[in-house]
């Protein structure tokens, strides 16, 4: 199987040959385009063509039948559109048709990582070298799933690791959290505070959570190669009165809870968190 990555710009593919029969043209035309000059020999003899000719839809069908013969096959995902479809000469019974296709444009899909878009110039000629069909076609082609898979797995691993981190933090085991997930030179930053190094961060966590339980729930995670952005729902539950917690002279009383949404950026280095930066709304 050939994927998007395997087909280079200006790659040419040659196909042949398809033998056209009168019976097939007439049968096809009776169903899809029953003009007299396609289905009736007498009428066709008197027409401007002087004999049976194939409907343009038949010519297109023959051309598309060649997509199957790409060898090795191509991971087609569907056609997006055609441009400049022309029929310079009619197709007649007895014609032997062949095709040259050239890749004239290639780009990755802007919205879907698993595919790319290839544009081909296709020219179909008869046994005398005369063109009977030419057009440009834009097709979606799958990317190699082994390569797509690598990225998907890495992404899901990062997501799983982050969820495990939120869970461990919410359990209150800050020592293990800091030890497992942070680099030695961790920087932990939020509006009005900044701590550097594992020990300073751990001391801050322990002091902050004296009599307060903190639950962190991710609402969304955006995972990049070395940076993760998260929107977190954070709930503090007071086990005893927490003076000034909600502002000057505003106490979060025992049994009460407080929820807020934070935006947090994590810089990742060697699969650990090196920098945490918290933005509060």
């Amino acid at each position: 199987m050939r994927y998007f990555e395997d087909i280079e710009l200006h790659h040419k593919e040659i196909f042949g040959s398809y033998s056209v029969t009168k019976e097939e043209i007439i049968e096809f035309a009776k169903k899809w385009d029953p003009q007299p000059f396609h289905i009736d020999e007498e009428a066709a003899a008197k027409s401007i063509y002087g004999g049976i000719t194939a409907p343009s839809t038949y010519t297109i069908a023959v051309c598309h039948s060649f997509t199957t013969y790409w060898d090795p096959p191509v991971a087609w995902m569907g056609a997006l559109g055609w441009q400049d479809v022309e029929f310079p000469n009619p197709v007649r019974p007895g014609d032997v048709l062949s095709i040259v296709g050239e890749c004239i444009e290639r780009r990755g899909s802007r919205s879907k990582y698993d595919r790319g878009i290839l544009r081909f110039l296709i020219v179909m000629t008869n046994q005398n070298g005369k063109a009977v069909l030419s057009f440009k076609t834009k097709a979606m082609v799958a990317r190699n799933p082994d390569l797509v898979g690598a990225r998907t797995v890495k992404k899901s691993v990062a997501e799983e690791a982050m969820n495990a981190y939120f869970e461990l933090y919410s359990s209150g085991d800050y020592e293990k959290t800091v030890d497992t997930y942070y680099t030695d030179d961790i920087v932990f930053e939020f509006p009005g505070g900044k701590y550097v190094g594992k020990e300073a961060v751990l001391n801050y966590f322990v002091k902050l959570h004296d009599g307060l339980k903190e639950i962190m729930k991710p609402r969304s995670l955006l995972i990049g190669s070395d940076r993760i952005a998260a929107e977190l729902e954070i709930t503090f539950e007071a086990e005893k009165d927490a003076p000034h917690f909600l502002g000057k002279d505003k106490t979060l009383k025992a049994g009460q809870s407080f929820t807020a949404i934070n935006s947090v950026f994590y810089d990742i280095q060697d699969e650990k968190i090196r920098h945490v930066k918290i933005y509060r709304p």
Binding site: K31, H64, T68
Partner: protein, 148 residues
């Protein structure tokens, strides 16, 4: 059979075709012969594809459009199609779809070399039962003149 000739067409005029119901067996048979991609011929493979079910090959969509074009009365004194462009397939055509074609004349001109004919340009829209666009394109058709 009553025919309409080159002179009878006016720029801006619109026409609507009959409706064609897409039959699964026919679609699969067509695809087996002309475009046997798994998502056109194999229901299971099609379910697992990005389309979630069988879809028609683009060549079949064009064939259905041709058939529908032929249902417009009175029939056009066509001498053949010269070309198509700007052809897009925004939504897939599926078995069970009820397809209609609408055309509008956008341009017409006499042939420069053959006085017995002219060329009519159409813009064509092919829609399904939910009024979703299945295909749109421009087509140039060679049409016989009445006065020859």
């Amino acid at each position: 059979m009553q025919l309409r000739y080159y002179e009878d067409y006016e720029v801006g005029e619109k026409a609507i075709s009959d409706t064609y119901s897409v039959d699964k067996t026919e679609l699969v048979e067509y695809s087996k012969k002309w475009d046997p991609q798994p998502f056109h011929v194999d229901e299971e493979a099609a379910k697992a594809s990005i389309y979630g079910g069988l879809t028609a090959p683009s060549a079949y969509i064009v064939a259905v459009a041709s058939l529908l074009g032929n249902t417009i009365e009175p029939k056009i004194a066509a001498l053949g199609a010269l070309g198509m462009t700007d052809m897009e397939f925004p939504n897939p055509m599926r078995p069970g779809d009820r397809i209609t074609l609408m055309s509008m004349v956008t341009q017409k001109r006499s042939s420069k070399t053959k006085p017995d004919r002219g060329i009519i340009h159409y813009v064509v829209r092919v829609t399904n039962q939910n009024d979703e666009l299945v295909s749109t394109y421009r087509i140039k058709i060679m049409v016989a003149k009445r006065t020859r």
